[in-house]
Every structure is written in C-alpha cells, then in structure tokens.
Symmetry: C2
Subunit: 597 residues, 2 copies
C-alpha cells in the first residue's frame, strides 16, 4: 500500500509532519488523531524492538497495563482534579455504572497500586516494569502531527526499590539504556536537566532530539557540561548596572507604563528597575490566589518555576496560573490597581471588593530583584515611579526564590567563565526519580530488612515512540523527502521496476527482489503500474536507504543503484549490485547493533 | 516477578479465571479491567507472533488505527445510537472542544474512511489491512476474567475488494489462516455458522474453542458437517403430534396460563398449541413497537432471529427487544391484555390507551406455528382457550419466519438422518463478508475497470488475542494448575534451585540455566528464597511444559526432570537431562511451526 500525496496538508507546519502525510506514513482521522499506515508501522516496530532489547538487557520486565483508569486511584494520588478539571489533559468519562474513568496519560497510580498488592518484601526488590502502549492526552490544540497528538505510543517503565540509593542506580542504568536506544535509532540527542512537572519527584532528566522545529528551548553551556530545559535552567545573569545612591524621590512618569518607555525617557537601564507582575493562581482546593512578583526589569519570569515555588509553598498543586488582566481586575471591581505603576508594596486593601479571590497577595521576589540595593519601581499611583528606593523603605524583601528565565548569554553555574547558549529540542525521553510520592499517597508498602513497613522508592522512565519516529525525520531529510536511518527505515532497499509493462524488466525485477529477500534484506518491490518518474520521486519521498532500479539496461543484465544519502547513482551488473548493496547494509546494521559496555 | 496466590479470587467463576489470577498472570485493577503481568505478556507475545506470521503470509499489511473515534463516522454508518444510547456497549466521552468521541470496540468506520480517502482505483485492490490493539466494551456485567472484560486485545483485519467474488476468495484465505493460527496455538476449535450481529453483512463464521465454560451454545450435526451457533442455527424440529380434526370450540381453562398446565389438565401435547408471545422493540428512530409472535407450544423463541427479522422488515436497527411484562402493560394502561390467554388475533384496540408505544402490533409467526393445520390457542379472554381452530378462523397467518431456537435432538438440514447435538464454546475468532454495508454508508468508493465509481466490497476478520490465552487454559489444565501448549507457554522450561542457601545447588542451577539459554530454549530460573515445596507447586500452577530441579542430587551431578503433562519424573545426569529436554522441546516446536499448504 504505497500511496503518496503531491501536496502537503494545510495544517502541517513542520517538515516532518508534511513528509509523514505526503509519504502516506500516517493518515489523519480527526484533530490530533492519526492512523499509522503500513510503512509507519514498520518504522514503529523497529524502534519498539530496539527499546525492548535495551530494556530487557537491563532486566526490566514487560507488561501491559490498562488504559482505563478508575478515578479513585487518581483521587488518592491527588492528581484527578489537576488532570481533569484543572489543566484537563486527561480524557475522562462515566461508564454505564456511573463510575468515573480516565484514559491513561501515564501510569504511576495503576502500577503503584498493583505493586503494593503483589509485592511484600525487600527480597522481591528491585523490580523494573515496563510497557509499550498508546497513551491519551486531550490536547486543547493538537499540532505538529505526532509531536503533539491526542493519541501517541509511549514506552513507560516504573521501578521499585527498597532505598533511594538503589533507585539512583537504576536511574543511572536507564540513563545508559536511553542513550543506547536513541543512538541505535539514529537520533542525535542531548540529555538535559528538566522540570518534573505534573509527574513530580526529586530529579529528572529529559532526552532531546536537537532540531529547529523543537517546542523546547534548551540552554547549554559552551563546554557542554551544563544542559537544561529552559523551564528548569538556572544560570548566572548579567550583573545589574548600579544606580546612583541618593535619597529616594518620586519621579513623574506620565504614560511610561513599560520598562522600555521608562528607560528611554529617563535614561535608566532595565537592570535598575524592579518590575512587578500580577498573577492569579487557581489552587487545587478551588481558591483563587492573587500573586505579586518582583523581578529585575531586564529579566523574564519563568512561569514553571513560579508554579513550582507556589505549589511547594502552599503544599498543593497549582491547577492554573496566568497574569491578571485589566478586564479581570475590573470584573472583580478592583478599580484601584495602578497597572503599569505597581510597586512591590501594593496594599492588600486593593483586593477588598473581590468576591471570589483571596484577599491577601502572596508576595514573591526573584533573587535578581532582591539583590538590588537601590532601584526604581512603581509608586502604586498612576504616572509616578519611585527612584533610588530600597527594600527597607518598602517594608522589607518578599519571599525570595529563583523565578527568572535563564537565557543565552548568561554564565553557567558550574563555571562562570562558560557562557550559556540556546538551541531547540524535541523531547523524546524523560526519566524521573519519583521517590516515595506515589507509594505514600497510595499506601503501597513493603517489609524492609528490619521487618518494618516502608513505602517503595520509585523511579519512572518514559520514551515517546511515535514521537521518536517523527523526530528522526526532522534530523534526516532533504528537499526530496525523508532519509531514514537504516535501523528504523521501513525497508532497507526498494526495488523499482521502471516499466512494469516490459516483461523482461518485470521478470528480472522479481528475481532480484527474491534474491535480496534470500540475502536476509528488508526489501520493498515497487511494481506499480506508474510512470518511472513517479516511482523515483516516491522512493526519495519515503526515504528508503538504498534504491535499485530495473530499467532499460535490463536487457544487458544491468541495474542502477543509488544510496539515498548520496547524489550519485551507479550502473552495475545485477550480481555486483546485489553484492555492493548487501555489504553496505550489513556493515551499516553493525553500527546500530546492541554493543557490550 | 513470580508472585502467586494461594486462594482463588471471590469473583472468579471459571477455572481459567481462577488460575490466571492465582498464577499472577493478570491483576485486577477495576471491574473487567486487568493488567497483563510479565508471565502473561509472554503468552500474549507468542500468540501475537503466530497471528502476525499467518496474517503476513496471506499478504495482509499491519497498521495501527486510532482508539478514539469521532462520532461523525459512527453517525454516518448508522451505529452511533445503537452503540451508545442503545445497547450502550461503547464507552464515549466529550473532549475539551465539546466533540463526542467513542472508544473503539471495532474499526469498520475508521478503516472505511481511510481507505476511501487513500485508494482510488481497482488496480490498488485487493488489500487486507490488520492491527493488533486493545479494544473497549462497556460491559454492564464484566465477568470470567479476560473472557468478558472491558479492555481486551484483538487482532482485527479489514479487506477491500473490487467485486464480491474476490471478497469471497480472501474470506476463504482468512478461514485457512484462522485454522492455522488456532491449531498452532494449541487450541481445539470448531468453525460454526454465526449471526453477524451489530457488525452486519451477508455471511459470517465463528471459531469456537470447545469448553464447558463457554458462553455460547453450539449445535453440531452428528456427522460434523453442519455446525452453528445457536443464535444462528437452523434445523428441522420434531414433527408435531396431529390434533383431532373437529369443529373449533371454546374450552374452559381456569388458571391454566402455562403450556404445561394446559397440557397436563387436558392431555394435550405442547406441539398442538400455538403459543403467543408479546414483545416490545425499541427502534433506532425512538419508536416503541409492540410485537405479537406465534410459535408452536413445544418451541422456544430465538430472540436474535427475532431482532434480525424485525430489523430487516423495518429497515432499521433494533436497539432493544424484550418481553412485555404485566407491569409495563399496566403502566401503559393496557388493562385488557389477557396474559396467559392471548391468541394470535389479539386486537390492536388493546393498545388504544398507550401514550408512548405504537398503536398497532407487528404480527409474526414461526413456521412451526404456521404449518399447524388445526391447533389450540388463547381466546383473548381469561380462563378460556380455543380448540381445533385453524388460521382461517383467526383471519389468516401472520408474516412467517424462522424464529425458533434449534436444539439438540433436532434433525440436521443438510441430511435429516443426522441428529443435532449440543456443546459449549468460547468464541475466539469471527470472520465476516460485509459486502458494501459500510462503504456505501461512508461513501467510500473506487474507480472500477469500466471507469465507474463503485463502493468497495469489504470483509472483516477478528481474533480475540487475550481471550485465546484464557481459552487455552480452559482446554489445558488439571487440579494443580495450567498446562500451557508449548507454542504459547510463557517459558518452555523452568529451572528450580530447591535450596538457594546451598552454594552447590545455586552454582549448578545457574550453570544449567545458562546452558539451556545457550541451547536457544526459553528458560525461567526460580532462584527465590522459598521452600522447595512452594516452588514445585508454583511451577505446576503456572504450567511451564518442562521442569528441571536442582536438589539433593546436585552433589552427584544429577537433576530431576518432569514434563508437566505427565506424572512421572526422572533423575538424570545433568548432560543427559539437558539433551532429553531440548530434544523434546525442539520436536514439539516443530509441531507448531508454520507449515506449507
């Protein structure tokens, strides 16, 4: 079933998405919902085999867990509301008995329950359980084909340990397995420190396929020793330019609501200003909490860090967090908020009229703001700023955290002579040290060596299988189409019979096809009744590593061969062509085999 | 992860369910929702490999289709209401955009849409597309473990053809593939004529694992040439005993509401009576239709046949059909219905008061009733029957169909000297000739040889993969546990180190384990720190075909071996034991290999 399209689909924004559709690898059924067609299934099967081999080599055991998750389990872990009412990423339904069920986006709850019921003793530990399965996420804006789809194939593994040390050891082994998996699949990846997000836990690391189309921004030190997702990255910012020390005073700043206006009109540097941001957080218990954040004027707020700091401080998940707009503030009848002129000491009394929000601000400061000795900031009155003010005059420094976005040009924390650079990446793997978060919540215990009940120490380890396939295309394509790495190509070689009406070509083509199969090669025969040009274009588009064409030279027993990665083709005797191709494929295969340590 | 249970779960009614749970093969997560644990996964993987090999050998192409189905597709095919509001077997939900989505129980709609969009010409046909995937059914009463669960693994295939003849050829090839698949998996199956149910189409055949615990009743002629599911089975019933011809008269039959009472009190034979049944059908268009069915007194109504006849007659799916109770009739204020004394000519006027039902009966007769020349039937007045009446006196024969249940003791239609017998079966496969039902509904066309648009001719072919695994246990177990056929056993051999504290045993055990692996055998090492007796019991329970025990004789280089299917064990030198086991396993493997035709 080799069916290709001439035109790219209208909704495809990135090249890998276009090529998957045009090559007939995937077929859209609904928004963010695709069928994996036969060519694609072969790619997925090859990736899956590599993943299984490396997981098995680490002693992990394969299972298959349910996709339907009873709500009770997610209520116990404290994630039901966040995943349904909150961010709402989990599809959920009521069954015929009226029970609520979620469609699994991840399986910590299910496996923690199972392990708690099946394992009793430290003697049965450690254990690492994995599955390869379709997962579901109700993306509000599905896009980029398989990158952000609503159904996708994941490998997820969960390890259980009697102590943290043992967990760390398996975490390192998974790190090793992941590097092997991506490299054997022909992907260039970088491992970065990552935010653990809704999964939680102490430490986590993402594996990123570097590509322009990546949704994630990565920050990497010039020596490569520090690498992190911007969501998580920490760095040393540029020094602030000191402000002259003088007695604080009020400056008239009519219509200077932005840092830029304020600096241009008054010759300030943004690093001399304390910018104040107003956010509203929706908490899991339903409360709506206004937040006041002070940050240095030249810095950007990292909202992921903000949500993490807030969640830890309030000891509950933050379902949503976003800036308070003028419209929202008006709707709550908070007419006194001086947008553009807010100072860190904005009074709680501005919240007096609200009916649905909490009436006290949580006040936070990024350390870039807290470190300023004297600075400029809003005066809480329209068209006026305060200059050369210090924190004492404002009644002290709010709770200080790291809330800023690290950016290119910053200095690396491991060595301040190394400068941070940016690149983009596609997340294909993520490993977590979960600790006891889920085992405690779900009361999932074992008897330790002392005979006491203890909660399991857990890790979890994910790989986006379908996303890997698409990411491989981002890294391996040209203007004609895909250039699959041989280890995950749907076929290793395509045999094209140029003119299927020509009996000689047809006969020779079929004989060559059979011979290549006998050699143990993975061969596709293109014997469609199409023009030769169409077949050549298609073979480039679908990206099979080797092409063998039976054309006019068939009468003299010659064929044309070409490697997808090179421009030149060669005309050879049939036997020589088969020898050359098979030798090349066997040696390429070797490069991607599992290697001993 | 070898974790077994001593006690059977309380909700397990059949032996295979008990053994799956006790052996740690599956773990219940919620009603009808199970995790497949590592041992089970190995069984499923082996079955899957056999299925793939046989499907690939027939040229079928593997894909993976979405599990989330947009409602539009099912509305187009006319199945949305029946699968959600009607029988309600399809889980369904609204996504964050408010769109309705069903969780796929079957994929005719999805694949018909895809094929219609991707294929254009008869030159691209035939094509057979399959997938192996978890399916969903919101069973109102999940039971029997994996037999009637809410998540289960299916292989489903869909073939597309340019004509009916070609469809029939692929149908026959699938029939052949299915026989090979079940036999290579060690299952004894019988192929039976089947009702096509909600899938529809012209012809269908089920593959049944014969087992006492089966939910289906099968009717098979004594020569085996006719076999059908009772839902579908037709047969020649016993002849009626003629009633004396006389002028019809009214017989007083006080409190003789049942056939049995009527016969006992008046010395009638049940075959001399026309029994009248009152049913209410809920149609897809929302109408509630009362039905009056006449059938010979010694016969039982087949409700599947009834629903099919009615659906064809009314040209729409029947969402529900069940007997009208006295309470229902009272609720509709139909106080005149003489339950126990109803005749085929019950007047429509009894329906006058209803507000929600149609006011005319649909009247049907089974051919056993229609053939009676004179008979006894209700008089539509309490405590009175009519005797020796004929159809003319009743205003003619209603619409005649085959509505009776075929039963053991009937004569076979292919040869009336052959008697029908009953047995029970577990459905593991079902193949259908769908014809153009879905392609017409979804406007899925190709250009035929004449250059005209034509709807695809379709077939579909299902196998219950997870159900096969459990059915294998129903056919292969004893009091100690499971006896897996070697081709689908989780391991071929288990090596038990009787006392893991004994260094000599441990060393020898690990050496033997390694050696067996080197032989290419599928080996499990039981080196748990448990009593030997526990390990022996577990190895019988989980049903590994061969057992090799390293015990006290380890010091003299001897081990004990036993085949699970036999009682006797043998003590042999290590080398001889390994030779014997590997020879046996290799020859058994041969029995289950794919064979040329």
């Amino acid at each position: 079933m080799l069916v290709t399209l001439r035109d790219s689909p209208a909704d495809a924004e990135i090249i890998s998405h276009k090529l998957l559709i045009r090559g007939g690898f995937i077929k859209r059924v609904s928004g963010g919902i695709y069928a994996y067609m036969p060519l694609m299934w072969r790619v997925l099967k090859k990736i899956t085999a590599i993943v299984q081999e490396e997981m098995d080599a680490k002693g992990a055991l394969q299972t298959l867990l349910p996709q339907l998750h009873p709500s009770e389990l997610w209520i116990k872990s404290g994630r039901w509301k966040g995943y349904t009412a909150g961010e709402g990423i989990m599809f959920h339904l009521k069954d015929r008995q009226g029970k609520e069920i979620g469609l699994g986006p991840t399986h910590e709850e299910v496996i923690t329950k199972i392990t708690g019921e099946m394992l009793n003793s430290y003697k049965q530990l450690p254990i690492n359980i994995y599955q390869i399965q379709t997962k579901f996420r109700d993306e509000i804006r599905p896009r980029f084909g398989l990158m952000r789809s609503r159904e996708f194939i994941m490998k997820d593994a969960y390890s259980f340990h009697s102590c943290e040390k043992d967990l760390k050891q398996t975490y390192e082994e998974m790190n090793d397995a992941y590097k092997r998996i991506f490299s054997r699949s022909g992907l260039k990846t970088v491992a970065v420190d990552a935010d653990s997000g809704a999964i939680g836990g102490a430490a986590s690391q993402e594996f990123m396929v570097t590509a322009e189309a990546g949704e994630d921004l990565l920050l990497i030190s010039s020596d490569g020793k520090y690498a992190a997702n911007q969501e998580k990255a920490i760095s040393i910012p540029q020094e602030a330019i000191p402000l002259k020390h003088e007695k604080s005073f009020i400056l008239e700043t009519p219509n200077q609501k932005t840092i830029e206006d304020l600096c241009t009109k008054n010759k300030f540097n943004p690093s001399q200003i304390v910018k104040v941001l107003l956010f509203l957080a929706i908490l899991e218990n339903g409360e709506k909490q206004p937040i006041l954040i002070s940050i240095r004027g030249d810095q950007e707020l990292n909202e992921v860090k903000l949500a993490n700091v807030l969640g830890t401080f309030l000891e509950q998940p933050i379902l949503d967090i976003r800036p308070i707009t003028k419209d929202q503030s008006d709707a709550e009848k908070l007419s006194d908020i001086p947008f553009g002129y807010i100072g860190p000491d904005l009074k709680d009394s501005v919240l007096n009229n609200t009916n649905s929000w909490n009436k006290n601000f949580i006040r936070l400061a990024d350390y870039t703001a807290s470190k300023l000795e004297n600075f400029i900031c809003g005066s809480n009155a329209i068209n006026k700023h305060r200059c050369s003010i210090d924190w004492n005059e404002l009644g002290g420094i709010p709770k200080v955290s790291d809330l800023r976005k690290a950016i290119a040009g910053d200095k690396s924390i491991h060595d301040s002579t190394k400068i941070i650079r940016e690149c983009r990446g596609i997340e294909v793997g993520h490993i977590f040290q979960l600790g006891q978060k889920y085992s405690r919540a779900l009361n999932s215990n074992f008897t330790n060596e002392k005979g006491l009940l203890e909660s399991f120490w857990m890790g979890c380890y994910g790989i986006g299988i379908s996303r890997m396939a698409q990411a491989a295309i981002e890294q391996n394509h040209d203007e004609e189409g895909i250039k699959w790495p041989i280890s995950i190509a749907p076929f290793e070689i395509i045999v094209i019979i140029a003119n299927i009406q020509n009996e000689l070509q047809k006969k020779l083509g079929e004989a060559v096809y059979k011979k290549l199969l006998d050699y143990g090669l993975d061969v596709l025969l293109d014997d469609r009744d199409e023009r030769a040009g169409v077949k050549f274009k298609d073979s480039d588009l679908i990206g099979i590593p080797w092409r063998l064409v039976i054309g006019r030279d068939a009468s003299s027993g010659k064929v044309e061969i070409r490697k997808r990665s090179r421009k030149e083709s060669e005309v050879l005797e049939v036997e020589a062509a088969i020898e050359k191709i098979s030798e090349d494929i066997f040696s390429e295969r070797k490069l991607f085999e599992r290697k001993p340590l």
